[in-house]
Amino acid sequence: MVSQLPVLQVILPLMAAPLCLLLKRSTLVWLFCLIVSFLSLLISILLVQQVSTSGPIDYAFGGWDVPWGIGYRIDQLNVLLLIVITAMSSVVLIAAKESIAREIDPEKHVYFYILYLLSLSGMLGIVATGDAFNIFVFLEITSLSVYALIAMGRHRRALWASYQYLIMGTIGATFILIGIGMMYQMTGTLNITDLSVRLAELPQKRTILTAFVFIIVGVCLKLALFPLHLWLPNAYTYAPSIVSAFLAATATKVAIYLLIRFTYSVFGPSLSFAAIPLQTLFMALGLVGIFVASVTAIYQTNVKKLFAYSSIAHIGYMILGFSTGTVAGLTATLLHVFNHALMKSALFLALAAVMLRIGSVQLSSMQGLGRQMPWTMAAIVLAGLSLIGVPLTVGFVSKWYLLVAIIEQGNWVVAGLILMGSLLAVIYVWRIVEVAYFKEPATAQKGDVLEGAAGGSTEAPLSFLIPIWLLVGANIYFGIDTRFSTQLAQSAAQSLFGVSP
Amino acid sequence: MDLVISISSGICLLLGSFICVSGSIGLLRFPDFYTRMHATSVTETSGVALILIGLMILSPDLLVFAKLVMILLLGLLIGPTTGHVLAKAAYHNGLKPKLTKSGNEQSSVPSSERGGDISKS
């Protein structure tokens, strides 16, 4: 059974989704989803050990060897993403029951869990597969379930946000399909390893370049890189809080994985970086993205939209690391994938708790919340610090590695700009702290809003506090003992550059 | 023997395609909805039937022949029904046929009403 792990990783949540439809009651379905999510976390941990001991695992579907059938290839890069996705989905699921009880009608809870499991299995499918067309199919599964999840938001703007995301996402996915079609036309195969071999020895380069540009534009649409990020703020703001927590932690990370996989494994660094000035383009886009997103984040009144813009800024950091094109830069990006997931899920879960208690995440309605919800606001402050990159937190580690990678290349200007970007982050985190702690609570006229749980305690329920503080603890722990995360990111980066770890 | 087959099927095919062509010309030339609809539905059923008969004569073995017979029966059943339903829907939606030559006073009902919601029909 151990050799079947790669398939079980994807099949378990995939088969569990229709099963949820058979168990009618939503608490039963919630427990079932929780067990499935933790099981897939267990499988990804086993996969990490297997890959670190015996190197990449190959798995051929249907017994047909690779270029003819579909093959899975799990190496260090996949495993890092699998761990992040399954861990984030399990932690977010713990708080799901309470949160959706308030935000979604009771009839639709079972549908919510089915769509949640489908988007989880879709993401695992994208990350684990070694076949180009299979990436497109699982990309569609994730996207469709995410469109439906966002549209289940309470406010009517959730529908409009989901529609816009659907249009942009489908154009992106079709661009990827055109890119895959062109690659298939020139080489005749769809398997990634086979593709990289045959693409390298092809004399004529024009179609390959176009395929590369199409795939990169499609992936950047999914990635919400600076010019193509218009769908992200509304999608994360008006979606149910649990969905925005899950998306913030995993959706853009899968797109980053696709970017790295296509540039390094399929097209090879030589073609992708030499032919078109990808490095300078991405560095510029990353920097502009950081500044524009951080500045707009400062002026937001809705805290969820504020953190959505800060997500776009942090994607800018990841793209900066990627654009250096060196092993150190790639390690910084992969490290930031890991750390950013921790930061953002903690923040959005805390906001889910705030939404649960006071029914709104507007900055004006969060006045003086520091006293009503001490634990949740403390979690937001700590995660905010880690967002800025204060030492002893996860944010500092990934910013540090990013700065080292950039300075190694010698352009100090970019390093300076990154530090300036962190200062902007200080401003918008400070705005929340100021409202929560230094403004006295305006409860006079909104007395009833703070309907507390039994016994009038207005603090978030335990089912929220455990995951939030689990994540904040992880933020701190991985900020200090960075061995696990950096070792994982290091080996993944080196495996991509062909350097044996 | 095959001379007879090819001639008869040729005739059927030619006739069927001529009917279809005349139907489409009718679609363009006729004044209002009902006459156009009449032209297309009549020719569509008979034209297709003739072409199918022509093909049947040419068909090499029994299986192809049986399939063509099925298609012919289906076509004969569905052609007139669609014509009927189209006319009924138009009539219920208030589209009056244009009876007089000048066709001004009884022309089709003002377009605002004609553009009514489909759900009414």
Binding site: F133, F136, Y163, I167, L177, I178 | -
Partner: protein, 117 residues
């Protein structure tokens, strides 16, 4: 050069028409129709790639030797189903938007949102 790639030109033309409709049109249903057009053009690109001169449909029969390539056909069957699923979901969103906003014109929806801010 030109005649040999006629199939790709047609696919490109349809692709650009579809993309143009999706971006330029304001009505939500017309955007979906543009999207369908855009996706169908990609199918035409794949299937015309698979055709072999003088080959027949990839259904095995003893007397035929040259067949067209079956792999793009299998891929496009998946892509058509993906296209229809996206259309179905988008149309259900449009119905919900019509109920919530009362309109399916992009301008009016944006206007209603700004009003509320």
């Amino acid at each position: 050069m030109f005649i040999g790639l006629a199939n790709t030109w047609v696919a490109i033309l349809l692709m650009m028409i579809g993309l143009y409709i999706v971006i330029a049109q304001g009505n939500l249903i017309k955007k979906i129709i543009g999207l369908t057009l855009f996706q169908t053009s990609v199918f035409i690109f794949y299937i015309s790639m698979a055709k072999v001169e003088g080959g027949t449909a990839p259904i095995f029969s003893s007397d035929i030797s040259i067949y067209s390539n079956p792999l793009p056909h299998a891929l496009i069957l998946t892509a058509i189903v993906v296209g229809i699923s996206t259309t179905a979901l988008a149309l259900s969103l449009i119905v919900r938007i019509k109920e919530a906003y009362g309109t399916i014109e992009e301008e009016e929806i944006q206007g209603l949102d700004e009003e509320q801010d």
